[in-house]
Each structure stands twice: as C-alpha cells, then as structure tokens.
Symmetry: C2
Subunit: 198 residues, 2 copies
DNA sequence: TATTAAGTGGAGCGATGCTCCGTTTTCCTG
DNA sequence: CAGGAAAACGGAGCATCGCTCCACTTAATA
C-alpha cells in the first residue's frame, strides 16, 4: 500500500535501487507468465521466474489486480487515448464507437483470462475492475454521447453496461473455435443502432 | 463412473438403500449450499451439511458438474420443454425465441455462479457444459430456424454462439445494480432482427 | 446366521494464497 | 570510509481446498 499507487504507475523516485530492479524483474516475469498461463498464474511461479521471493511481489503489488494493471497499463492507456482520436477521424460517431470497441476487444481477446478477471467478483480483482472503469468509462461515454447526439444510436445505454457486456462476451473464447465474440458484439452494436427515422 | 450416469438422472434401482438415502441427502445439502455460496462451494461444506464424508459425494457425483446438473436437472428439463410449447403459443417465432431466452436468463440469473461455471474452461465443469448444450442447443436451434423461416431474423446465427453469448452476458450480475444482463440481451435480440424488407 | 460385496468416512497429499519475521542490502551521516 | 538505521528481502509456515486411498461398516443374500 505504501510502495505503490493502486493504478500501477511507476513509483516515485525515492526507492532503493534493488527495490526498483526487483519491481521491474517482477513485471517482466509476470508479463511472460501471463502469456502462457493467464493472469491467474500462481504467484509462486511468477516469483520463481523473476528470481525473487513471494513477499517481494506482494510488497510491490499488494493485490493481483495491481500486478495485472501494471503489466497492461500501457495498452490500457493506448486504448483510452484512441477514443478521442477515433472520434475525430472516423466517418461518423457510430463508426468511431465501432472501431474503438474493436480495439478494446482486440486487447481483451489476446490476454488469457483477462476478461474473466475483469468481471470477477473476487475481491482480489476489485482494483483491476476499478482501473479499467476509471480509465475507459469516460472514453466510452464520450463516444456513446457523440453517437446519440448524431442520431446514430438510441439514447439510454449507459457506458458501464456496454463495457461490462462487451467484457463478458469476450470471456472464454479460447480453445473454442465455435465461439467468436466479435460476431455477437457486432450484433449488439446493430441492436444499438437507431432505427432510421420514418 | 459406475454409480451414476453423467447427466445426473436418478440412478437405476439396483442400489443399496443407504446409498440411495445418502445420494438424496447430498442433493438436498448441495441445493441449500449452492443458494448461499454458489456452485463453487467447497465440497467439504456440502459433505458436512449432508452429514456424509467427502468420498461419498465423489462416488455419487464424480465431477462437480455432475452434482450441479443433478441439482438443477428439473429446471433444465423444464426450460428445454418450454421451447416447442412457446413456439406453438407465441405470436411469432421471434416472440417465442424472446420468451424462451427470458426463461433461460431467469434460470441462470437466479443461480449464483452458474453462468460462470457454464463458460468455465475448467475440466471439472466440462460435463455441465455438455449437458446444457445437449439438452438446450436443439431447442434453441429450433426456435432460431423458425424465426429465420418466418423472416423475423437474419440467417447465419448459430445456436451455440447465441447461447454462449447469453450465458456470458449473465455472468457477474450479482451485487451490481449497475449491470442488468437483460437490457443487453434485449439489445442483442434487437440486432438479430431482420431489417424490414424495403 | 454367516458371507460377501457395496458403501462409507476421514486422514492425507499436493497445490495455492497470503503473512510473518529473521536476515541482508542499501544509503546516509559523521 | 566506517557504522548503523531503515528499507527491502525471501522463504518457512499456516490455512484452505480438491481429490484419493483404504481400513472399516453395513446392507443384502444364501
């Protein structure tokens, strides 16, 4: 708690060099392990891979969610920053929304178990949930509002609901060629569309 | 394996009375525990509640999924049987599909963690997955086909995809008043709808 | 009643999450 | 450049849980 801010930003400079080195080693190891074993990988394994003790991981990242957010922080930021950009360069607000959701889905789909973790009621993941929401909800809301204002979609859909739904739809697509989240998400967006004025 | 069929039907009569009694005790205890602690509740707890040893549970229900399906078997059957009935009595095939999905969602939403278990990649739940699919997929397919044939919805959506999506959308709604799966499912259905012929 | 096989229960093993605390390392100060 | 305080470390240790194994109990049968 005292050594790291919850959202996983790089810590302030007042740390010992060994602490900083270990922190980075843990981050690197976690990134590797997450790819093969998902974000639920045993802490022991990450610690072993990083060549540190378990306590070191817990000290730097009190919660599993802190570790996960730290590992994926750059990609989450990129996704957040893409929102306004897409809104500016896309053909329509609806198109921007669609393309932004594509980015979000790409991100979720390539991280084993991330979508599962996101919706988890497990307290260990509460901070992950919060970080995603804090960072991406406003972006999603902005896109939704713009699409509503342009008359592309009906009003009344809240960003939280939409993002939760998309996250949920991305769960468990691995090892199941019969299930393609993107098709359903496209359907969802289709349903969101404003029926053309009579 | 030798004492129970995978889908959780009542076993054939050739059992000792104590075995039959214990089986029922386990079923009752599991039903109670599932309500409060979800379908992930520790086997130990269910065993304690039923007043039996853990091995007794594992002997009757080799897999957690077997226990879960046995507990909910009647409701799954009811849902399966409702399909054709709705198709006969609803205003349109699309209406039947909508009402059937309502039933399915009601079922999922009232069982803590059931939706989670359904999509789980955990091998322990493979049989649960199979049972749901075997029993409900044909029903869903029939409703979809009818709706397509009536021109209510576009062709090309496979039952498996739809059911997986609905199941996924039902995950994690508990303790979160901001998330209502039904709204998103309605949106999904809306997207499925055939745009009225020009 | 005696025999037997079906049935039972819980100790025990391995895996995992998380903490506690004695030890080591860094860094600052005199 | 010592020397000591504080920061950081690491892994043993406890708790929980899934699942198995096997000595014991009990119902059915001859």
């Amino acid at each position: 708690m005292a050594t790291d801010s919850p959202a996983g930003e790089p810590p302030p400079g007042g740390q010992r060099v060994d602490a900083r080195r270990n922190r980075q080693a843990v981050l690197d190891a976690a990134a590797e392990v997450f790819v093969t074993s998902g974000v639920d990988a045993p802490i022991r394994r990450i610690a072993a891979r990083a060549g540190v003790g378990m306590a070191t991981i817990y000290r730097h990242f009190p919660t599993r969610a802190d570790l996960v957010t730290a590992v994926y922080r750059h990609q989450i930021e990129a996704c957040a920053e893409a929102g306004p950009r897409l809104l500016a360069e896309a053909d329509s607000p609806f198109d921007a929304l669609r393309r932004w959701i594509d980015l979000f889905v790409d991100f979720l789909v390539t991280k084993h178990g991330l979508a599962d973790a996101l919706r988890s009621e497990d307290d260990r993941f509460a901070a992950l949930h919060s970080y995603f929401l804090d960072r991406l909800l406003p972006v999603c809301g902005q896109l939704l509002d713009a699409a509503v204002e342009a008359g592309d979609i009906e009003a009344g859909t809240r960003p939280y609901e939409l993002m939760r739904g998309i996250g949920n739809l991305c769960i468990g697509h691995e090892n199941d060629p019969r299930y393609d989240p993107r098709r359903l998400i496209a359907l969802l967006l289709q349903g969101l569309r404003q029926p053309p004025a009579p």
